[in-house]
């Protein structure tokens, strides 16, 4: 273990190098599979970041789509109108999302779990209504013509960074403080943890990466529309972390990938049963209910930190 620590930077550089090499051969990958790989990466970023808020800190945010929208729109606005360089635009989108997370977080994080959920849901809806009315980014007509900057390299670089930073956060004084809020907020306060401060940090951390994921998404699809960022989108990310096992970073990562591929596989279910009815959403919602009832620690997460049992 001690030896590994010494090489921690080396491992990171190695990871970046591997991503770079895969990026070089990416034109040879079947474009359909490649696209799924890209979306899987973006979903990992979304899920791992929401996991910090919901899974590690125990707060219930339903506003992830809103943060994603802010990052997507702001970074696209910068690259489209000001030709800002892509990484810069991504970071700017993330920062704006983080700032909004801060603005929403300070007042609402005093609220208890389910109230917070509904308040963040409301915030997401307000962001969407504003986007519908913002003509500079197309309003309801959508925002086309966004340059295509997102590629394998950028997506998986962000995945690498978000995974490393989440792990580093988890096994640290700050991470333990965040976990202690999830476990018992009152005991946590009594032990000197400034719970408000750490909750806000978790919220900003989650919002920032959601914003970056939004930027990656926008510069891949080259088109944005406010209706992409409904409450449904937040729930999709929620399903990823619930299925992966709240709090388990590896579980959440696997389930993000799994749930990106699953809808594509389910397309064949329709062919198998020869129906015109699309059963995907029914399967999806059943999956959600059954997971909660039968395996509340998540389908894929097999690790120690699971759902809090009161």
């Amino acid at each position: 273990m001690e030896n590994l620590k010494k090489f921690r930077y080396l491992f990171f550089i190695l990871g970046v190098l591997i991503i770079y090499l895969v990026d070089l051969i990416s034109p040879r990958i079947n474009p359909y599979y490649f696209q799924i790989i890209i979306f899987a990466g973006i979903n990992i970023v979304l899920a791992v970041s929401l996991n910090v808020i919901n899974g590690l800190c125990g707060q219930f945010s339903l506003g992830h789509a809103g943060f994603m929208a802010v990052g997507a729109y702001f970074s696209s606005f910068l690259t489209f109108y000001y030709h800002t360089s892509f990484p810069l635009a991504l970071i700017a989108g993330g920062i704006l999302a983080g700032l909004i997370g801060l603005g929403v977080g300070i007042p609402t994080l005093r609220l208890r779990g389910d109230y917070l959920a509904i308040a963040t849901l409301g915030m997401g809806e307000i962001i969407r209504v504003i986007l519908f009315n913002l003509d500079i980014v197309g309003g309801a007509r959508g925002f086309p013509g966004i340059p295509k900057y997102t590629n394998f390299f950028w997506v998986y670089l962000v995945v690498l960074i978000v995974l490393v930073s989440s792990y580093n956060l988890l096994k640290s004084p700050q991470g333990r403080a965040i976990l202690s809020i999830r476990e018992d907020e009152i005991a946590s306060e009594a032990m000197g943890v400034n719970t408000t401060q750490f909750k806000i940090f978790a919220f900003i951390f989650g919002a920032f990466w959601a914003g970056v994921a939004g930027g990656l998404w926008a510069h891949y699809l080259q088109f944005l529309h406010p209706s992409s960022f409904t409450f449904m989108k937040s729930v999709e990310v929620l399903v990823m972390i619930v299925l992966g096992g709240l709090g388990s970073i590896s579980g959440v990562t696997i389930s993000a990938v799994f749930l990106t591929i699953l809808p594509e596989l389910l397309r064949y279910v329709k062919v198998l049963f020869n129906t015109t009815v699309d059963p995907r959403m029914v399967i999806y919602s059943l999956l959600l209910i059954l997971t909660m009832l039968l395996r509340p620690q998540g389908l894929l997460g097999g690790y120690r930190r699971k759902v809090r049992e009161q």
């Binding site: 359909y32 309801a140 080259q222 209706s227 992409s228 959403m281």
Partner: protein
């Protein structure tokens, strides 16, 4: 978990293997349409029209001696799903052309992929002008916003006996289609010397329009323009009449559904008009057989989305026939040269921007809520 995953993978591989063997001598066409989600009702209409057309063509021996093999995928009205499906159709199913997606905001996400892969994409119903600007592989079967908005503004000024001077607009702020129609109606109405006295909006899914309508009523307009689909337009017409707004209410092709009369109430449709692609009661043989067959097959009167889906298939089939071979580029070229093609929704000629030029009909209603032909408006000759 890993085992389940592997199993799914194997199953999917087998299925994709099976379909590719089976599909050796067919013309593969993919349809992207929302079958679930918030606008599933429109998506399902388009699907019905498309399936009927494909079955009809195949029953008559197909095109160039080959049957059309239709792949249908549900995009849930989501942008990323539309992109995924476009990729899947192109890479996995090796389709020669894509039909759909239904709404502009989805089409704009799928179109760049079709363009890059050089696969013709024909949207039956995406009205945003920017859709076909994506590139020369992107086509549409419906009007562009400006034509319908302009037509109805002219009709409001001159078509209703006396000149109407003031108009109010109530449009859906969250719909591309509605905003486009409202915009061109407004511009034309003003340029023709009229005045817009109120411009109100609502969001998708709203059911209560009393606030906006009360406000509009206070402005006493001569005419109310409601560019919206029948599911909301029906409610608006009903609520407007109940609030005592008795001026003519005008709309676009979104009005064209038998549901409109049910939702609005038959008596309330008096003095309502819309611009449409076809008149269901028309004597044209294409329309009559289409409506009759649709009724027989689905036990319902078709709406305009079904008609456009149906026509998009025939447009494509016509292009493939003229191309003489099942080749994406050849089909694109033939599609671009579509001329005087007589279909249900009118006689179609594509202009240089791959938008159809076809005439619109203006339809009114009798006291039983039945559609009544009013007039035909031809596209401007440039």
């Amino acid at each position: 978990m890993k085992r389940v995953f592997l199993m799914l993978l194997v199953v999917s591989l087998i299925i994709s293997g099976v379909t590719s063997v089976y599909g050796a001598e067919t013309i593969k066409v993919g349809l992207i349409t929302p079958l679930t989600g918030p606008i599933a009702t429109f998506g399902q209409s388009v699907e019905k029209g498309v399936r009927m057309a494909v079955d009809e063509i195949n029953a008559k021996g197909g095109v160039l001696g080959m049957k059309i093999e239709l792949f249908v995928e549900d995009n849930q009205a989501k942008a990323e799903e539309s992109a995924n499906i476009a990729r899947k159709f192109i890479e996995q199913n090796k389709v020669v052309a894509i039909l759909g997606p239904v709404i502009s905001s989805n089409t704009l996400a799928a179109a760049p992929i079709a363009q890059q892969s050089k696969v013709p994409l024909l949207s039956p119903t995406a009205t945003n002008p920017r859709v076909t600007q994506v590139g020369n592989y992107i086509f549409r079967a419906c009007f562009v916003d400006d034509f319908q908005g302009t037509v109805m503004a002219r009709f409001a000024r001159t078509g209703l006996g006396k000149r109407l001077n003031t108009a109010a607009i109530l449009y859906e702020k969250t719909s591309d289609y509605s905003i486009g129609l409202a915009k061109y109606f407004k511009e034309t109405f003003i340029s023709l010397g009229g005045k817009i006295v109120a411009e109100e909006s609502f969001s998708s899914g709203d059911q209560d329009f009393s606030a906006q309508l009360t406000k509009i009523k206070g402005k006493n307009p001569d005419v109310l323009y409601v560019p919206s689909y029948y599911d909301t337009a029906g409610l608006i017409i009903k609520q407007a009449r109940e609030l005592g707004i008795n001026v003519p209410i005008l709309g676009g092709d979104g009005f064209d559904s038998p549901q409109l009369a049910e939702l609005a109430g038959k008596e309330n449709l008096k003095n309502c008009y819309f611009s449409g692609h076809f008149f269901a009661g028309s004597k044209s043989p294409e329309v009559r057989t289409f409506v009759a067959n649709y009724k027989k097959r689905y036990n319902a009167v078709p709406d305009m989305l079904a008609a456009l889906g149906y026509d998009a298939v025939y447009m494509l089939a016509d292009a493939i026939k003229r191309a003489g071979k099942v080749d994406r580029d050849a089909i694109r070229d033939a599609l671009a040269n579509t001329k005087n093609l007589k279909l249900v929704t009118g006689t179609i000629t594509l202009d240089e921007n791959r938008n159809p030029k076809k005439s619109a009909v203006i339809v009114g209603f009798d006291s039983n809520g039945n559609q009544v032909y009013k007039t035909t408006v031809n596209p401007p000759k440039k």
